[in-house]
Symmetry: C2
Subunit: 513 residues, 2 copies
């Protein structure tokens, strides 16, 4: 234990750090961090009367959701789940931790971000890093060859958090996947239709969905002269094109990855191309690409995909973009990513963050991503039997952040309860009557509250309604009891009307449809 | 690495163990355990061509939920959440892990069951053990003195799993709590009303809710002559009365806990008492108990509680039972526990399990429990400010198990999707028309599926409907296309009728209300 005087000095210094940050109006996050340090120092010193002082915080990179955030979250989930159900999906759930071995070798370099559990004399366990690997494990373990499922759950990454930008160490993923051997591009097209529907319904402004194919990328690298062993690393450099200028990407290819200028320039030509079905057709005629089997297979599928997207009426937002690469190793065919057009200031990344993959495994700015991964289930099957899969993950944390900011900016108050009526009284000694009426309303399925006070003031009862958005008050008094009525008050308009007890339930239902 | 021949021998032996268990029709759990060992041995040997063999399993004591289980889970959650909302509750969420320090000193002996995360160069973290401690931490951290909230989330205990009985290491808790300084017993009564409503609506058969008060227990121990320092340990012995005969409980008190026979017998008299408001009144006249301040406070509140329960019309199921103790240290007032009358064979505990607390922190057989804990939030507040709380936890895993068994036993098939209609065709080359119609239905909010095949057989399309419970098929053919109609088929009755395209959406909605 440190010397007491030293500690007191450290506390003083740290106190000044906090005051300075506050006076400079630093970010809440930064201040909280320094306050936590201060509290830790104080805890070392021992609190008042030797009482242990807790450091009151959540773990780094995590947050509680308060009722308002939960109300927004529920709204977003409802839209997404309705869409998944409209497309005939079932849902599954898996444990929050997996055998460590299950996750090993699936995430390449990112494996260092996996949270391990302490070995307490049992199995070696890790928190799930995404929902795709547990899904593949589930399919192989249960020998399922056909399923259309969604899974909404939290995943864990020991990444550098950037919480004001919606990047956390604990965050939701929202996955929809179709597993099974089907005719080409039909399930792939449905995944894109789903992204389109969800982004439309969430009303987040204009968006684009970029599409490409791993096979086209590989074919392109081959015909440009990239050595086989450099495909993956060049792929992740290309992936940075949405945040970096071509000149900088080229520099990385030449200086860091050791490509010749020539090769890089050839790649540069291709990755600047964007279009639709027409581009796929044109590239099928490209003298170099047309010689590559992989590229041809990818381009033929891309043509077919666009013909289905046409039927699904989504081609106004979908663009075939040869610069789209996506980081994850397991993709084998079509890949896609959705980007909002409108930039929200707090959600724009800073240069320091540009190298990290974001919380949903999609690059900064994007709100959904996915693709085809035909090999992953086979990695789990003892006999290596493959189950072709295609899926999409909705970047729900970024969407929450945007919705929260929208709610903040709007004048409309977010309600956190659904209470239809408060049972109230202006007079004393009517607690029993209030409880009786509340009970009758509950029994009829009405969402009702009553203040837990014997004799609350009418004003505080009305204030409770205004604060929480309860639209109606059912007021009881001696006169109302005698007359067998209830005074029903509209909180906003302040209109009051006597309603016979027998009609009360219907009247409340009618007014709170 | 073990010698190859030794390993092969071990694999042979283990293979025989597995075969024997299978031939003896041992439990799935037991077989899975031994199969996992076998696979691990095989993995050590190296699979075919040196390929690594994965052990395909979930972590000990955890499970996946398949779509059928999820459908049941959704139904149960909907009933519970509707009830919480009817009572005006908001909801919050907290991270799955907390600073280890937050959990320290809250669970007594059970602390050994907490899952710790590996220290990977950051904070010391533990998976949450329940939702009550994170709730108290949340209130103190945000200086909230008033809230009515529910929280449904998974918690983690490294307990001995008994999965066939619905006891897992990862399981849901479903908590409703009211925090705030209110007039006595009003929120407490609402918690009991909520348990009553939920158990009624879940339709699990008859049930009872036992109620007691920590202060009555403590007063009773005092007047019986139990030394102060033995209150807690005697309390946990009393807690076993729902699974052990009085004679055995007494033996434990005398032989293990060192009470005199006299003292134990005096306790025995009290804990055999059951009743309602009348019993509280009678005990207030009890010559010994009435001399104890704590007991009197508890009994007076018990009387008041029953008067509110009368207004809430739940006294037919609630019984004041002096043998109810409940294990957790943090209770300070009213405690309660709900027990189903009907015993479900697979859910009855074996003697070996009788000493453990079950997965929901309530004793074996019970499906809900809770009580008042006025001191917990103060443990987190730097100034020790108290926030009185009362709450209830629904033992949801046991309820899932019961519902699953009911579904298994019933002839009615559990649907795992909500699809209203399958778009089908009996003829070839109509994929585009099928996709176009499906798209139109999705756009109108109809839950529709289409098989991902170019030319599926009509039979396999109808089979898909029968297997998954889709009630309607919209059949397209050359003739229908020419006539501008769709043949709408009722899957069960096999009736078919031509519906004009313009009326199709309304017709589907009408038939799948």
């Amino acid at each position: 234990m440190a010397d007491k005087a030293q500690l007191q000095e450290a506390i003083k210094t740290q106190g000044e750090v906090v005051r300075k940050l506050k006076s400079e109006k630093a970010s809440k996050e930064q201040i909280d961090e320094e306050v936590a340090k201060l509290l830790q120092l104080k805890a070392q010193l021992g609190g008042d009367e030797g009482k242990h002082v807790f450091v009151l915080k959540t773990a780094k990179g995590t947050r509680d959701y308060n009722p308002k955030q939960m109300a927004i979250r529920e709204k977003v989930f409802n839209i997404i789940i309705s869409c998944f159900k409209r497309h005939g999906a079932e849902t599954i759930d898996s444990p929050v931790f997996e055998l460590k071995e299950t996750l090993t070798g699936k995430y390449g370099e990112d494996s260092k971000l996996i949270y391990d559990l302490k070995d307490q004399g049992g199995e070696l366990l890790s928190l799930r890093y995404d929902l795709t690997v547990p899904f593949a494990r589930y399919l192989a373990m249960n020998k399922i060859t056909n399923i259309k499922r969604y899974h909404i759950a939290k995943v864990y990454r020991r990444d550098n958090p950037a919480m004001t930008r919606g990047r956390y160490r604990e965050f939701y993923q929202c996955d929809f996947d179709i597993a099974g051997q089907y005719d080409a591009m039909i399930p792939d097209a449905e995944c894109l239709k789903i992204v389109y529907e969800i982004l439309n319904e969430l009303d987040l402004g204009d968006f684009r969905i970029k599409v490409n194919d791993r096979r086209i990328l590989d074919g392109m690298f081959a015909v440009c002269g990239v050595p086989d062993e450099k495909f993956r690393t060049i792929c992740s450099t290309v992936d940075k094109l949405d945040k970096m200028a071509w000149e900088d990407v080229k520099k990385e290819m030449v200086n860091e990855k050791g490509l010749s200028e020539d090769v890089a320039d050839r790649i540069g030509e291709y990755v600047s191309m964007q279009g639709g079905q027409d581009l796929a057709e044109r590239l099928l005629q490209d003298p170099k690409l047309s010689q590559n089997k992989q590229a041809c297979a990818g381009l033929t599928d891309m043509k077919l995909l666009f013909s289905y997207l046409e039927l699904f009426q989504v081609t106004d937002k979908v663009v075939f973009d040869l610069s789209l690469a996506r980081g994850l190793d397991y993709y084998t065919g079509v890949i896609y990513e959705a980007i909002l057009s409108q930039t929200i200031p707090a959600l724009v990344s800073t240069p320091a963050e540009q190298n990290g993959a974001d919380e949903a495994g999609v690059s900064v700015g994007s709100v959904a991503g996915g693709g085809r991964y035909d090999g992953l289930v086979g990695m789990f099957d003892p006999k290596g039997r493959k189950v072709p899969c295609v899926g999409v993950s909705i970047g729900i944390e970024r969407i929450f952040s945007i919705m929260e900011q929208k709610a903040e900016a709007s004048s409309e108050k977010v309600r956190t309860t659904e209470t239809q009526v408060l049972v109230a009284s202006a007079q004393k000694n009517l607690l029993e009557e209030r409880l009786k009426l509340t009970n009758a309303l509950w029994n009829e399925g009405i969402k009702a509250e009553v203040l837990y006070k014997k004799n609350p003031k009418l004003l505080s009862q009305l204030q409770h309604c205004e604060e929480t958005g309860i639209p109606l008050v059912a007021i009881l008094g001696e006169q109302e009891l005698k007359d067998g009525v209830v005074k029903l008050r509209n909180v906003v308009s302040r209109e009051e009307v006597d309603v016979p007890r027998a009609d009360l339930v219907d009247e409340i239902k009618k007014r709170t449809l």
